[in-house]
Symmetry: C2
Subunit: 533 residues, 2 copies
């Protein structure tokens, strides 16, 4: 946990004067707001009975059960726009009645037993970075609610250097996991925007993708073994390279969002730390030609590990917000105009591997981008993206301070369906928000399709912020489902996609998941109101 209240550990960036001026030009008048300090947050008295509290302390030790206001307030929400708005208002009505800190897998199992017996709702917590309401304190039928924070289960347990797998506890955050792996010469290569805070267990239960998914694979592809504590006992799925022993139950845990059990151990594929990393920027003349180039790359064996295409609006905003000074920017725009790609789309490609491998794939990629009319912006543009890649979430509080609604949403579709989804979602967001900036990029490529990631900026409608965004989000969700795209590519379902999940899994699919839920969690204590409609 961070000691800061609203957002992320470390430096909190502010918006510069020119950025603010640009935002006002694009979005209209903005009303700055201020966040309430955490000290001002008062949480409701804990609903836990003394008996239940005693049993929990018996199961976890007294240092394993936190009931102080600050710990509870810190678990009153995660990172969705609504979460942030509520916290900024000092609204901690959603705080859990206690925060549990199990020290090991057995303690997690004991906690689930006590909570089942006492009918206490459990919300499992990793890094607290859900942007879909996955950590909302929905009480279901429980008489009280606890956050089960896995921060003490934060160790690398084993590395099998031969088989290239590593076994972790679920609460370890990515930087710590990478540091521990680096001692063995390995890396996970899993780099979502939440990298700095998200936990490995969180990745598993939300089906995280990671910006380098084309190279290293989604978390779905990295998981080879699992242990899951459930109210009905432990599910242990050993590490197997490949199997036909019935349906792969690892895939039932992946994406289960804490509704079926709590991951207590995960074994993941790891790769040697690459000798060479090379990121570079390109500009292509248009979104359509960019998409065509990305499809060509995705369907080749020698594709980049990271590939990212921004649409014209996101490209303009990126260039405007980039650190480069006015002169550099003017020179760049002259250069792009001369090369015929002014007003075009930014592409970032990244390669990680040994020298020979990187050289081979880079050559192939350059050929594809050039025949799409692409112009190289060189290593500097790539590095600039790489260095700023975790900046987005950090900027959100600064945006809200300035009176800007700032939120993202994402989906994926087949290559055939992608253009229609892109148009429909943009139109839906614009129609709902009025004077808004909607940027989009493609950042996860598959042979059969790709993701779309939308960033939305609008003047916040003060005191109706949450309703304002909910209406826009609902319009986008409807557009996504209508065009046959997935309701979420890597943010998971949580509460904000819950009502659209039947469109994708069908009533029969939802019923099948409910049946598993009843079997593993018969009392329904685990994360009610998430995932399943």
């Amino acid at each position: 946990m961070d000691s800061t209240w609203t957002t992320w550990a470390g430096e909190q960036p502010r918006l510069g004067g020119s950025t603010l001026a640009m935002l006002q030009r694009l979005l209209g008048p903005l009303t700055p707001t201020e966040a309430a300090p955490i000290e001002s947050a008062i949480v409701r008295p804990s609903a836990l009975s003394q008996g239940a509290l005693d049993r929990l302390c018996g199961a976890l030790g007294t240092d394993g059960v936190l009931v102080d206001d600050r710990s509870r307030a810190e678990h009153s929400g995660a990172q969705s726009y609504a979460d942030i708005v509520r916290r900024r208002r000092g609204d901690t009505s959603a705080a859990p009645d206690a925060v549990l800190l199990p020290a090991d897998a057995d303690a997690v199992q004991r906690a689930l037993e006590v909570c089942t017996a006492e009918r206490i709702t459990v919300v499992p917590w990793g890094g607290g970075t859900s942007v879909v309401g996955g950590l909302d304190a929905l009480r279901g039928d429980g008489v009280a609610l606890v956050a089960l924070d896995l921060r003490r289960l934060n160790h690398l347990l084993e590395v099998d250097t031969n088989s290239r797998t590593a076994t972790f506890q679920p609460g370890i955050r990515t930087p710590a996991a990478e540091a521990a792996l680096a001692e063995h010469g390995f890396t996970l290569g899993h780099v979502p925007q939440s990298y700095e805070r998200a936990s490995l267990g969180g990745y598993v239960v939300t089906r995280s993708a990671g910006q380098a998914s084309s190279g290293y694979g989604r978390i779905d592809d990295l998981v080879v073994g699992l242990r899951l504590a459930t109210p009905s006992g432990e599910l242990v799925l050993p590490s197997m390279p490949g199997s036909a022993a019935g349906p792969d139950l690892r895939r039932l845990v992946l994406g289960s969002e804490g509704t079926l059990g709590v991951v207590t151990e995960v074994t993941l594929r790891v790769r040697p730390i690459p000798a060479t990393k090379r990121y570079e920027g390109w500009m292509v003349p248009s979104w359509d030609r960019g998409l065509e180039a990305l499809r060509t790359l995705a369907q080749r064996r020698d594709h980049p590990d990271v590939t990212r295409l921004s649409d014209p609006d996101e490209t303009q905003i990126s260039l405007a917000l980039s650190g480069s000074g006015g002169l550099t920017r003017r020179l760049l725009s002259t250069y792009l105009r001369r090369r015929g790609v002014a007003g075009g789309c930014l592409v970032v490609v990244g390669f990680e591997g040994d020298d020979n491998d990187v050289r081979h794939r880079r050559r192939a990629t350059r050929r594809v981008l050039r025949s799409a009319g692409g112009v190289s912006l060189g290593k500097r543009a790539g590095r600039s993206w790489e260095h700023g890649r975790f900046r987005g979430p950090r900027l959100r509080d600064a945006m809200l301070d300035a009176g800007v609604l700032a939120e993202t949403l994402e989906t994926a579709n087949t290559w055939r369906g992608l253009p229609e989804t892109y148009d429909a979602v943009r139109r839906a967001l614009q129609a709902s928000l009025g004077k808004a900036v909607v940027g989009c990029h493609v950042s996860h490529l598959y042979e059969t399709g790709a993701s779309l990631y939308f960033t939305v900026l609008a003047a916040a409608d003060q005191r109706r912020e949450i309703e304002q965004w909910n209406a826009a989000k609902l319009a986008a969700n409807d557009a996504i489902v209508r065009t046959g795209a997935t309701i979420t590519h890597h943010h998971a379902v949580g509460t904000v996609h819950r009502d659209h999940v039947s469109a994708e899994l069908g009533d029969v699919g939802v019923a099948a998941l409910r049946a598993v839920k009843r079997q593993l969690d018969p009392a329904g204590i685990l994360n009610p109101g998430k995932l399943l409609p």
Copy 2:
């Protein structure tokens, strides 16, 4: 269905005199046997009531319900050693009471409704190539049993050339599927040994791997969309390149072995027909060095599409059985002795792609094999393997004619665990069968481990053939589980691995699958006795 009784359509190979002499030298005295002709098979009277038969005919049309003895006899077993032995004895006690031939997905759904109402057990049939008892006519609680043969659902429905996916009906066999795809310039690249007869739906529900799994991916990786008819309604999972909308329910259908529903449509990734195919043979000095080389290849990005390493025993048998005449064989063995790899292990590597890609990967592969002490045997050895790749199943009747027990089994483990599993399974089989030949190859490579495929030859213990093999198989299963390997890498569970599946999925995992089963098939009509213990 084939018109032949015991085995495979087309040419039936016989064993040559020198092969027979070699087998007798290796296995001891052999007693030839003869298979009963299908005409001599008498099946029991159908247990279907006239009322049930009328309802089925109403649902499927009279041409959709076969009750003649021959059709029933042809569905009395698949391709396990026990199945073949029973058929050779003319034992058709396991014949279904009728064979249903639905014409489309709706007819499948109607058939399930009638069978649920009438409590008729349903065994879904694709190509009939299960080697694990997956099609055994186990009646469960049903009053009668039908084989639901999907042979009329055999069409390619749609190709999305942009997204590189193709939608098929489940009963289409691989050669027909490939022929239909070839008209669009595409291939599935899914090439298991059962290729000639197996159906696409069968691949899905048994989690087939395919010999080129390193290049094209297992069927698990190829499935992007599915329709499943279940007694509780239809499960429709649309084509998605990637998603985080809850657990991936496609993976619940993959490996479900007809216990949860009947696949009525599947959308698979397809690839352009490769411009170049290059297969070549190598000899490496030992099993250990071969394994090390394979691990190096599997953990590189530029690996072959097919990689296969035979152990010394399988290598010897392969060379002895190979078509090459005596002189060629003598020259080869002289050459190998001179190069220091006599008594070594055969490696086959295959590459499919465009010229540039094949050249790049071939160069990398040659480097790895050379530094493992490998010696190239050239294209001819590769081609010889490629041409003989479907021969194994065809040889089985000839083996049984000659009095030879011939069966295979397979598993997979991490690179770290592989040597121990290899030793333990070989020892278990040898101890159970006495004078037997046990050959093994690795043929499916992953970054984290690989498969082991054992071929067993022994003198058949006449009239106790099935018991003789069951004892050996049980010993092998125990060795597999004891050494932490998977009970099956790509043959699926069926009946023969059913009692070992809890060791892998755990009691909690099995209970979760049972819960799904109860939800989708509340009357328990679908393939009882398979998959779940």
